[in-house]
Symmetry: C2
């Protein structure tokens, strides 16, 4: 920087103009490396476009003061400098002592300046991460105060305050209390040591293992900053299909370097533990969790890790699932395995996140029932630093699934939610889909475990069963692509996950509006149409992929594109026919007592609603029932016709997204306008491919015509079956 400033001094440009230009520079210019490439995510800090608000902000914020010193407070100060200068269009000075009205003050309640504020009582209940933002009077000056119990709370408060300006809220009189409802708010990175990402669609891993620990990529800081801005406080940086080498010193040094970068942003590093590591990188002949040598090995390994990373968060484990080793290899239970690791990290306050995503090809049982069958009996047998990580649904991140029956079924065990932000089953990074709608649907679902009002959200935040340990994880959609997530709109899913992890009471609408205002524009002619486009996008994808409760009919292995015809694979439950069960009589998986009776895993009220054809919500119909092609739907259509209309409505909705986006041409930057236009075009083609493939295929069973008013498929079923994606991204090389 200094060199540039010198250059400017030498030049004829006055200091004043330099400073203006700093603000102007935050606007995008069509310049190589200077265009709106999406790298800034939702932290754009462009000049406030509403002049009246701009005036209000400038009056309320003449300068700012950060009381106290620490790496985290330095980050908070830099963020205020950057954000306020950009948003207000002129440099906002950082001062060191309060001298005038219109000062923004940030600090902890221990700081000399804030120790005396009259609202300090409120902080007692705000915990380690919570914060207050208040318009108040201090030393006779009208100020805005961002105050918290700890530095990280101050940083969260600063980001929250900047968000108010970014979304153009009035700040004439602020009185905000905010603290997270869930303790562990984590991203799970399925990143391999060769930088491939299992189910990654935004390039490759941002972790440049080869150059770590000595080369620290700027991107690591920017990653931590983005997460801190939405309250994410942990990152599992290795794949759940784990590699034991990750636990060797060469790699622990690399992880430690990342932990050092993340620490001041309030983010802890977690690792995945390969259960057989004691045999693969230790000298042991077994990995039996009840073997003392094995227990000792893990204790020493934990100690070694904490030497490199003093605030190491703990382990995430995928065991005895999809071929991964685990305690059952030794006739031990998941609890035996989890507890062994829990004992190893306990002295260092680490946790073990044990995944409930387990199924076994030797078990003829309905795959969706296996997690419940294996884990419910273990309720109460886990150590207090173990939390069981459960996917949102009983199968595997489908466009729509009913909530997982384990939620509410293990009251003595803290359960943690696992969402998938990366779009493994939702069109990778070429389909626009706003996932907070899906997240909310699950969080709001009522388990009835303590009677009505026992929402899944209350299970995972620990409030219903009084657990102090609570958590939520999202499988990241982050990669080396310049815009982080591949699709400019996929950033909204990272953002939305973080916001819901902090406060699951936020609505999808809140999040859609916030994100649109911060990332695209505050222009109401953008906010209104884009918000409604976001909010309908998830139902749209469900309609052209898997309407009415259909599931797992995607392409084999890579899960891209339609594959309802997939059969004859190593495992029955890796095929499509296993799930849709289409025949001449009808279609759908009977999970009622006459079938697999998966409904029996839910609490009676839910079980009752799902079991009966009459009361089962139609969006879950084919999930729970095998239904005749001529079954009358609520609409009055037969099931077959309804299926045709649903699939067709999906295309119509994508086309209307294209129309909406066209109208944004002069309202958003040219770069992202062009990108999204291309991507929506791809989505439209593929939605059509989905619709035509599925209808032509299911028609071979229904033997009924597609209603004549609907568009005819362009090609034959044979054509669609032959389409292939030999190098579709996101497949783990070892698969």
């Amino acid at each position: 920087m200094k060199s540039n400033i010198l250059m400017l001094h030498r030049s004829w440009i006055s200091r004043r103009i330099i400073l203006l230009s700093i603000a102007i520079c935050f606007l995008s210019f069509p310049k190589i490396g200077r265009s709106e490439d999406g790298y800034r995510l939702w932290l754009r800090y462009d000049l406030v476009s509403n002049n009246q608000l701009l005036k209000e902000y400038r009056t309320a914020i003449k300068n700012f003061l950060v009381d106290g010193e620490s790496p985290t407070l330095t980050i908070a100060a830099n963020e205020l400098q950057l954000g306020l200068t950009g948003l207000l269009g002129s440099p906002i000075k950082k001062i060191t002592s309060l001298s005038n009205d219109g000062t923004l003050i940030a600090g902890t309640i221990q700081s000399s300046l804030l120790a005396g504020i009259k609202e300090k009582e409120k902080l007692k209940s705000m915990g380690k991460e919570g914060f207050l933002i208040l318009t108040t009077v201090l030393q006779g000056k009208k100020v805005i105060v961002v105050v918290a119990n700890e530095d990280i709370g101050v940083l969260y408060g600063v980001f929250h305050f900047l968000r108010l300006l970014q979304t153009q809220q009035s700040i004439s009189s602020i009185n905000i209390e905010s603290k997270p409802k869930i303790n562990l708010r984590l991203l799970n990175h399925w990143d391999n040591l060769d930088r491939t990402i299992e189910r990654g669609y935004a390039g490759f891993s941002i972790w440049d293992w080869h150059k770590l620990p000595d080369y620290i990529d700027q991107r690591y800081y920017d990653y931590a900053r983005a997460n801190a801005s939405i309250g994410i406080n942990g990152s599992v940086i290795t794949n759940v299909n784990a590699n034991a080498l990750a636990l060797t010193p060469a790699y622990l040094k690399k992880f430690a370097a990342l932990a050092d970068v993340f620490r001041p942003y309030g983010i802890k590093v977690y690792l995945t533990a390969r259960f057989s590591a004691p045999m693969e990188i230790g000298e042991l002949a077994t990995a039996d969790p009840l073997d003392e040598k094995v227990q000792q090995w893990w204790k020493e390994k934990a100690k070694e890790i904490y030497n490199y990373i003093p605030d190491f968060g703990g382990f995430l484990v995928k065991a005895n699932s999809e071929g991964q080793p685990g305690p059952q290899n030794y006739k031990r239970t998941h609890a035996d395995g989890a507890n062994m690791l829990a004992d190893a990290v306990k002295p260092f306050h680490g946790v073990v996140m044990w995944r409930a995503f387990v199924y076994d090809n030797n078990v003829p049982e309905d795959r969706t029932k296996q997690a419940y069958n294996e884990f419910k009996p273990l309720d109460g047998s886990f150590r207090d630093n173990v939390i069981v990580q459960v996917k949102n649904g009983p199968l595997d991140f489908q466009p729509r699934e009913p909530f997982h029956p384990l939620f509410g079924a293990m009251p003595k065990t803290p359960l943690m939610m696992e969402f998938q932000i990366t779009q493994e089953y939702l069109g990778f990074s070429t389909h626009l889909v706003f996932l907070p709608s899906l997240f909310k649907e699950v969080l709001d679902a009522d388990t009835y475990n303590k009677g009505p009002g026992s929402a899944v959200a209350k299970i995972i935040d620990g409030s219903i069963d009084q657990h102090t340990l609570s958590g939520i994880a999202g499988v990241a959609n982050i990669g080396t692509d310049r815009n982080w997530c591949g699709h400019p709109f996929a950033q909204a899913n990272w953002y939305g996950f973080g916001r819901l992890a902090w406060d699951h009471q936020l609505t999808a609408v809140d999040i859609a509006q916030e994100w649109t205002r911060m990332t695209l524009s505050n222009d109401s002619e953008v906010v209104k149409p884009i918000t409604s486009m976001l909010l309908t996008s998830r139902e749209t994808v469900v309609n052209y992929m898997t309407p009415l409760g259909l599931h797992h009919i995607m392409g084999w292995s890579h899960h891209y594109g339609p594959g309802p015809w997939v059969k004859d694979k190593p495992r029955a439950d890796w095929t499509a026919v296993y799930y849709h069960r289409a025949d001449t009589a009808g279609i759908g998986f009977d999970r009622t007592p006459s079938g697999s009776n998966a409904v029996g895993q839910y609490f009676p009220e839910v079980e009752k609603r799902f079991s009966s054809l009459a009361t089962c919500p139609e969006e879950y119909l084919l999930w729970f029932h095998h239904v005749s092609w001529n079954y009358k739907m609520k609409s009055g259509n037969t099931l077959w016709n309804e299926l045709c209309y649903k699939y067709s409505s999906g295309i119509a909705a994508v086309r209307s997204m294209q129309t909406t986006w066209k109208s944004m041409k002069d309202k958003v930057d040219a770069d992202r306008y062009k990108q999204v236009t291309m991507l929506l075009n791809v989505q439209q083609q593929e939605a059509l491919q989905w619709r035509n493939s599925c209808l032509l295929y299911f028609q071979t069973f229904s033997h009924q015509p597609i209603p004549s008013e609907l568009e005819k498929p362009e090609h034959t079923l044979d054509y669609y079956e032959k389409l292939s994606y030999p190098y579709a991204p996101g497949i783990n090389p070892k698969w």
Copy 2:
């Protein structure tokens, strides 16, 4: 853009300031997504820092005029707008009719305005790509003219002119004639269809195959622009270890989309041809080049490709080398294979680049002799649209090799140079090494094929043997890393390759200075020290890796780090001991008549010089001779001591690079300063590892001490041998 301009109008910032700010924005600010991240390469166009020159430029260039219309001329106009506005610090207007002195005019000689210039005679000899830049008088106005026979020449001239300003040359009176000495100036991308890059160290492939052809990444335009700026006119976009799937319609559509992007920048797309493709994606039972069905298959395939890409450049082929299929599988010659493909692309004016990099593990012969043995006898038997691509040295891109004996040995066949820009054997992207020094050493080497003065450069530019077809290729070091090449200084190797491909008479000094001025700073306190650092860097790497003619003693398979101890591999010539042949008597590969007699492949003058211990240049000593540990070197040292001093001098040189760079702290931008500081630290550690590993290992043969005044190795040989890089980048998954 439009939306931003509107926003600005609504705001209080005057139009004037907006325009200033556009210029100022080209300076780097420490802002997320706005910092000096290296993406702009050498095309930074920052404000000219020399005020006197700035005044001169502003007088000479008040506005500019591009006479004519075409996609290429539009690119030229945009580049002038961008470059002049940035360099001169205020917007330079594009005008449509000449009205004043101080106008820059660009166009072809066919354009109405330039048809009449008095210097038009000169253009007769400038060819399709050449250009003139002249200070002249037109319609009574003093103007600067960039004129060429074709649009692409105009674009090249525009980039050349902007370079003059970027490097702060006087333009008071310009008279420049420039045209390329070599026709085909290509990058070879060893990029796989899964986006891994064989020998890629800057991330992964920038070709996002999954999203192509419908999603066009901005990076494709920026890639083409950067190449056009240095005159590169072709790109082989797939790996020489080829995949037949690349020749199927699904991929041809993707390649066509890239070709459409590259075309206006004067860049043709080339593909690698998998020799066995007729069997793998055709229905044929053989790939025998003399089989009519096979010949027909390739003719139809070529026709199909040209339907997608009308200006397709042709094929690059690696056959019967390292396990790749080829004509010899059918007892045919390389000429049979090359000619079959040549006949297929001939009707469309395509070329075939057939690689001479061949060796066979069933041949006990010295690997460095095999290419010559196989290809020399074929001289004269290739079609006129075949060019044989020869690596710079007879082995494989070592830090130093003697020039390849095939240069000059096949007068009836056009030979094309293959350099490796990516640093497979030179520390990947963590070591700073300026390769134009290596390129020049080879280009200037005298083959003596027509007596003294028969430099390699004159062989490959076709001047010595009167070939109209000529070419030079560089294996690209480009990847998804934000700064394109991984190491900020590695950009200089891409740049330098392009500049030498255009004009091999440029010196390494010219190129080092140009690049430094364009990419870092014109401050003489930067240019002088950085230039000399660049110019010594290659010898530095040779000294700490493979001094005195040592070669191929790198780590097994990934070639990262030292591996002099590597032995017992599937092939002898994939081990280190095969090459250094260290024993108690001495070290080195005897390639004189008493050994493999590889020297016999050179012309007598060269052979004589290399064969005799007395006259063999010491930098090639152990390449050609097995030498006693106590042999007296010119320095007076024994070979063993000389080896110790050479390795140690390598470390010393790296440490002095660190000192030089430290002194740049306030003279270059903070971002790259930090990056290079970290990377030089890695290089220093690894140089030391190289030196210690090799000396400790060779000491087990020499049984002599390391001179006491030299630093002692920190660790034992055993320690170094145990170091491993399990997931070193750049290894093709299928290897």
